[in-house]
């Protein structure tokens, strides 16, 4: 088990804290025991293959599912909508397709605590930036897939979140929107937003993240700064680290 740096000597430095997290569905254990922290202002990469428990961890952190054991906090307390400004782009994503674009964005802005005026102004500004100003009154479903993704991105960041959680952000994004997403991430990083990036695109995470945690079979196999993790594995790239962690076990099983 990799050493997990304890930063609680300066709790205000830590925005996200996960202690003793365990998640089991009947006899199936998805997360065995997980401990990690996300420091304010950093970009944290949560890595793993499909089914490794990344999305489960996020959902538990956001209160969408109840953990079997452990404590997951944002800002020192279990997450409740409205306590901390969180922008969440889930892996399964969508919005109200039959409603006008501007109305959907304003609706979510108001739910996030913005005033009607602020939500409306921000939404119009975003649509202008995305070249969708003329589509504001159209039903969201009438936009192309790429345009809907832009609207969804806008909804995610519209209230200037303190914590931005992006679960497989580039999934379903065309190359143009992937570029846009990278720009948004860079912009948020410059603003000092704390980012949690969930992905199995190692190269992308290696470029963006300050620290990472690699999950396999519900347990952390690597945890720390990108440089430290790479150093633990002989200076390999994160992609090679991933292959070593996932590929080696398969070979051991074959040998047995």
């Amino acid at each position: 088990m990799p050493e997990q740096t304890d930063r609680t000597e300066n709790p205000e430095h830590t925005l996200v804290e996960v202690r003793g997290f365990r998640m089991a569905y009947g006899a199936t254990t998805v997360i065995d025991r997980l401990d990690f922290e996300v420091v304010r202002g950093e970009t944290f990469g949560l890595l793993g293959s499909n089914g490794s428990g990344k999305t489960t961890t996020l959902r538990a952190l956001l209160g969408l599912i109840v953990p079997t054991a452990g404590e997951l906090t944002i800002g020192g307390e279990p997450y409740r909508p409205g306590r901390v400004r969180v922008g969440y782009l889930p892996e399964e994503r969508g919005l109200y397709k039959r409603e006008p674009v501007l109305e959907v964005m304003t609706y979510f802005g108001r739910l996030k605590g913005m005033t009607a005026g602020d939500a409306d102004r921000w939404s119009r500004s975003w649509l202008e930036r995305m070249g969708l100003a003329d589509k504001a009154r159209l039903a969201l479903g009438k936009l192309s897939g790429g345009q809907q993704q832009k609207v969804q991105l806008g909804v995610t960041i519209m209230d200037d979140p303190e914590l931005l959680i992006l679960d497989e952000p580039t999934k379903g994004f065309d190359p143009v929107n992937q570029r846009l997403l990278m720009d948004i991430i860079a912009e948020q990083q410059r603003r000092g937003t704390t980012l949690v990036l969930v992905s199995h695109d190692m190269a992308q995470v290696e470029r963006l993240a300050d620290r990472v945690l690699l999950l396999k079979d519900g347990v952390a196999r690597a945890y720390g700064s990108v440089a430290d993790v790479r150093g633990e594995f002989g200076g390999k790239s994160l992609n090679e680290v991933f292959l070593e962690v996932y590929g080696t076990v398969g070979l051991e099983e074959d040998a047995a």
Binding site: R59, L64, P81, Y96, Y107, F108, L111
Partner: protein, 406 residues
């Protein structure tokens, strides 16, 4: 504005913006109007056709064993006495005459035998019409007195006043229309809102928006606001249906009558109305939250449809026992239907309409309905929260009743 208010405003606007909403609201009165018009025109047409058939001139011969047929009337209608049945039938078959009527000794118990030339399925009906008319008019002539004829024809009206054990006048009959109206409102709720509830509670999941929604606001606010929005939409739909009726009532008031019922005599019984409204609201609330729970548990509206059928059938089921509910309210089966939450609404509203639901019992039923609705609402909220992430399967009882989410 609170999250509840924000969601409520958004959901009401969504509901009122849907074409299907207005089609559903306007279709019902239009369909009722069209059916009524068709029925009216059809009845007029049928009556006209029957009258024309009765007046249609054609030659016929007849035998009268009853002695009732008036010879003069028969001649006016084109008839002549026949020699015997065999020769009369031969005449019809050869075309010498168009019809032969053989009136039996006792027309009140024996049929009139008719032989006629075929002129078409509809037009062949003229033979029976003429034979019946000849017999009826002959009988009236025999009676002689117009008053006696009117009595025999059933043209007698009655004016009834009944008294309760305490000597006061009973208004049960006059307040029946109001009670039936409340029952009709419950059925309208089931018909108009049933499918919409399912759609409203499954669309977040189908649109994949549930995760964002639940991390932005609490599920209690979302589901409560959705259901209230649906209720508001339902009220709007009912206003669209009933406002024209109310305007007609206000303008034509005492002159309105439906199927012989003089609506100008309708009595508005405060106790009946209060009980009826409470029961209606409780039953409607229970129906809506039950469907909401079913919808929130299912991955899609389509898959929820099968399970929701029971929620729709149960409120309507007591209609099949309407006769015993109305006539024998103390029977055990009626008691069960009165207190079982999912059949209580219809059963109690029926009993309330016919004046067989005591105040205390009615209030108890209303309480049962509201408490049941509150309990089911809790399940619906839990289903909404737990079902938000289940895109492929229906939630089970363990999911709904097990360890609660944060």
């Amino acid at each position: 504005m609170s999250a509840f208010g924000i969601v409520l405003r958004f959901e009401v606007a969504r509901a009122l913006r849907k074409k299907a909403f207005w089609i559903g609201a306007l279709a019902l009165p239009v369909i009722i109007g069209v059916i009524g018009l068709v029925q009216f025109l059809g009845a007029q047409s049928a009556q006209q056709a029957a009258e024309e058939q009765a007046k249609a001139g054609f030659e016929f011969v007849y035998l009268d064993a009853s002695g009732v047929v008036d010879a003069r009337l028969a001649t006016e209608l084109g008839g002549a006495p026949a020699a015997d049945a065999d020769s009369a039938i031969a005449q019809v078959r050869s075309g010498e005459t168009e019809a032969f009527f053989d009136f039996p000794a006792d027309p009140s118990t024996q049929p009139v035998t008719i032989a006629g030339r075929h002129v078409g399925v509809i037009d062949d009906g003229r033979y029976g019409a003429v034979a019946t008319t000849l017999l009826a008019e002959s009988a009236k002539t025999e009676i002689g007195s117009p008053e006696l004829v009117a009595i025999v024809a059933g043209g007698v009206r009655t004016d009834v006043t009944t008294y309760l054990p305490d000597g006061s006048v009973s208004t049960a009959a006059q307040s029946l229309p109001v009670g039936i109206l409340l029952l009709a409102l419950l059925f309208l709720t089931v018909v108009l809102l049933g499918q919409q509830v399912l759609i409203v509670t499954t669309e977040e999941k189908e649109n994949r928006v549930a995760e964002i929604l639940l991390t932005t606001t609490r599920p209690n606010a979302v589901i409560a606001a959705k259901l209230v929005a649906l209720a508001i939409a339902g009220v709007v739909q009912m206003l669209v249906v009933f406002v024209p009726v109310a305007i007609g009532w206000a303008l034509f008031g005492g002159g309105l009558s439906i199927a012989g019922l003089d609506l100008s005599q309708v009595v508005f019984d405060p106790q009946q109305i209060l009980l009826g409204v409470l029961i209606l609201l409780g039953a409607a609330a229970l129906f809506i939250v039950t469907l909401a729970a079913v919808g929130a548990s299912a991955p899609s509206a389509k898959e929820a449809g099968g399970f929701s059928a029971l929620s729709i059938i149960l409120p309507l089921a007591p209609l099949y026992a309407a006769a015993i509910i109305v006539t024998q309210p103390s029977l055990p089966i009626v008691r069960v239907l009165t207190y079982f939450p999912f059949t209580a609404g219809t059963t109690s509203l029926l009993r309330n309409a016919f004046g067989t639901l005591p105040l205390v019992e009615g209030l108890l039923v209303a309480a049962i309905l509201f408490v049941s609705a509150a309990l089911v609402l809790r399940i619906a909220v839990r289903a909404f929260r737990r079902g938000a992430l289940e895109y492929d399967r229906m939630l089970g009882w363990r999911d709904l009743l097990g360890r609660p989410a944060r």
